[in-house]
């Protein structure tokens, strides 16, 4: 028997196999189809429905299915809706900035200073987040109220003689309650991106002559940006749509667009207008998010993933 091995480049005579889609791709699609189908039925279809709905009109319980822009005209011109929309964006914007600014040092502390029991710290940070959301917001009312924990505490310390009133039933209270509610959502993404930073990069920066401050702004912060961006979006988008917090602690000056959407779907019985408000809010939020991401891509070099 002769044993031959050769690196032959003779064209193969065997039949060529079918190109993609291969086995793996098919298995993947099969597996993903149940959750995808669910999301299509329960998310995509309803969203399309809401969009359609926003072009209809409603008189008490009768729905008129002729397409009209009337709801949008009302949503965009009525001064009340415009005020609520702008206030929602402003409050959410402030909430986002405050939340992310407050969260960053914590994430930094956890990532760079805590050496033992990191997972435990993370766990402790998420625990308060699981208190009933309604009660959490309600308890801020207790803390910030006229005779609340905060005011009575300050009084006891002799820092004030009269209770502070600017902290409840206005936008400030909404900002505080929301910054609290969304804290873990800001801390975790930033923490993750800080954890991913190769520590030798920081040593390299120091070795090349950067002091702690310069090193932070030239190496740490740019590398943590993906986490900061994620945190910003994760906080900003949902807070625009919150209606529990404004209702409980916002007073009249703290009401937001979602409260109006809720009213339209509830007491006011004008669901199409509510839908138009919801779609408008979503579009504006999406637009702001895209501009934000685009600006970040523009002004950060490297792969701004």
């Amino acid at each position: 028997m002769t044993m031959v091995a050769s690196s032959t480049s003779v064209a193969s005579t065997a039949k060529p196999q079918k190109p993609r889609l291969n086995k793996d791709g098919a298995s993947g699609l099969t597996l993903i189809s149940p959750p995808l189908l669910y999301a299509l039925l329960m998310l995509a279809a309803p969203l399309l429905m809401v969009i359609t709905f926003s072009f209809w009109t409603q008189n008490y319980l009768d729905i008129d299915r002729t397409l009209t822009l009337k709801n949008y005209a009302e949503a965009w011109t009525d001064p009340l809706y415009r005020l609520l929309m702008l206030r929602s964006l402003a409050i959410s914007g402030v909430v986002t900035v405050v939340t992310v600014l407050l969260a960053f040092p914590i994430a930094y502390y956890l990532s760079f200073r805590v050496t033992k029991h990191k997972a435990l710290w993370i766990f402790l940070i998420t625990i308060p987040f699981w208190t009933s959301y309604l009660l959490r917001v309600f308890l801020w009312k207790v803390i910030l109220g006229y005779n609340g924990v905060f005011n009575s505490g300050l009084k006891m310390l002799g820092l004030i003689t009269e209770p502070l009133t600017f902290i409840l039933y206005n936008a400030n209270a909404v900002v505080i309650a929301l910054a609290h509610a969304w804290a873990p959502f800001a801390i975790l993404p930033i923490f993750i991106s800080l954890e991913k930073i190769d520590r030798s990069l920081l040593e390299a920066a120091e070795d090349l002559g950067d002091g702690p401050v310069r090193r932070f702004f030239r190496v740490t912060l740019p590398l943590a940006m993906p986490g900061v961006i994620a945190a910003t979006l994760i906080v900003f988008i949902p807070t625009v749509g919150d209606f529990v917090t404004p209702k409980l602690v916002g007073g009249n000056d703290g009401l937001m667009i979602a409260n109006m959407i809720q009213v339209q779907f509830g007491k006011a019985n004008n669901a199409p207008l509510g839908a138009a408000l919801a779609i408008s809010a979503m579009l504006i939020v999406a637009l702001i998010s895209f501009v934000f991401i685009w600006l970040n891509r523009r002004f950060t070099t490297g792969d701004g993933k």
Binding site: S6, A14, Q17
Partner: protein, 371 residues
């Protein structure tokens, strides 16, 4: 390419023909043909990305062929899933099931045979003893060290009595000492069980130590398939030569041939006649030739009394001391680059210094002519 002398009664266990694998435009394997014999220790050697692991996974049944055929024990394997093939694999990561004990890992594949409990236990214990892990059965597998996990992986595969055992870089995760120990042990084990082993490795030394035959792969092709000795002595081309061990390359010219010999004029060494059996390249008329010389095929003549077939004098340009060996770089007049010479550090022999003049001894037997 020359035929390899055959072992008398060796059957072909794996027959790969024209195996190709394309990922889009990239040819991971480009027409591989090889016959692997029953009972031999066969290595697929090459740098990372040469396609050796892909070929191994195709034999195991994890990757599909773009074209070509693989037959195991005479049966074509197209469409046969991994679980029905008479092969077993030792994975690079060992793939020890972390939720099972050592014994449960080893017994994993036997479940389908529905053996009585005692017989199963006996088989498992025998397999563990074979890899020096007797009594380790009840232990949690994730508490085992790297070397122990590897033995568990071996026992788990060998208990299946495969026709072919496939080993995917099994030693790469071990430290140097343990790796060297396992090389010898694996070789011993293979001889003891008599099963065909196919080893994928990027470590040329490992392949030389362990294998009966080695296929050296570059860019999805087999460059040379030969025994370790032939591979080392007569590499097929410069790429194989420099991948396996160290080789000095010198330019030369073929100035004629007659009968069994080729006459060469080699830069810095002069004219010499070389037996045709030392020529891996086709010789036609007078043409430039690439001459290779292993460092240990050259000697430095320390003493007036020492003599060699041929002699040439040069200047030492670098000295690297390895303990048992010293490597000298010697610049010969007329040569482009210094040539490397390795010398054993025997008793009483001094290590020369840079700048010293050295007499270099060589002979026609030191030389191979390569593509």
């Amino acid at each position: 390419m020359s035929d390899i002398p055959t072992a008398a009664d060796a059957r072909t266990i794996i027959d790969a023909r024209n195996v190709t694998k394309h990922y889009g435009d990239v040819k991971a394997l480009d027409g591989i043909s090889a016959e692997i014999r029953e009972g031999e220790f066969f290595s697929l050697l090459g740098p990372s990305g040469c396609g050796k692991t892909t070929l191994l996974r195709m034999i195991a049944g994890f990757d599909e062929l773009t074209s070509g055929t693989i037959a195991i024990n005479g049966e074509p394997m197209a469409g046969v899933p991994a679980n029905l093939r008479p092969t077993n694999m030792v994975f690079q990561s060992y793939a020890i099931f972390p939720h099972l004990t050592v014994a449960e890992n080893v017994a994993y594949g036997l479940r389908r045979k529905k053996l009585p409990k005692e017989e199963l236990q006996r088989e498992v214990e025998a397999a563990l003893e074979m890899v020096d892990l007797g009594g380790y059965g009840p232990r949690a597998s994730h508490a085992m060290s790297g070397g122990q996990r590897q033995r568990v992986a071996l026992a788990r595969a060998l208990i299946m009595r495969p026709k072919v055992l496939l080993l995917d870089e099994p030693l790469s995760a071990l430290d140097k000492k343990l790796r060297e120990q396992m090389q010898v042990e694996l070789r011993r084990l293979q001889r003891a069980v008599g099963i065909t082993f196919i080893l994928v490795t990027h470590d040329q030394e490992e392949a030389l130590i362990m294998s009966d035959r080695i296929a050296v792969m570059f860019d999805g092709r087999i460059s040379q398939l030969a025994t370790p000795q032939e591979l080392y002595r007569l590499p097929a081309n410069r790429r194989v030569a420099s991948f396996i061990g160290v080789m000095n390359f010198l330019d030369g010219t073929v100035i004629g041939e007659d009968g069994d010999a080729v006459h060469l004029d080699i830069a810095a060494l002069g004219k010499v006649s070389v037996p045709k059996s030392q020529c891996k390249s086709r010789i036609d008329g007078t043409a430039p030739a690439h001459v290779g010389i292993r460092p240990e095929m050259l000697t430095i003549l320390f003493d007036e009394t020492e003599q060699a077939e041929r002699e040439v004098t040069g200047t030492i340009s670098d000295v690297v001391y390895y303990g048992d060996m010293t490597y000298y770089d010697v610049q010969l007049p007329g040569a482009e680059k210094p040539i490397t010479i390795s010398m054993r550090n025997t008793a009483g022999r001094a290590v020369l210094e840079i700048g010293a003049t050295a007499r270099v001894g060589w002979g026609s037997e030191s030389i191979v002519v390569l593509d």
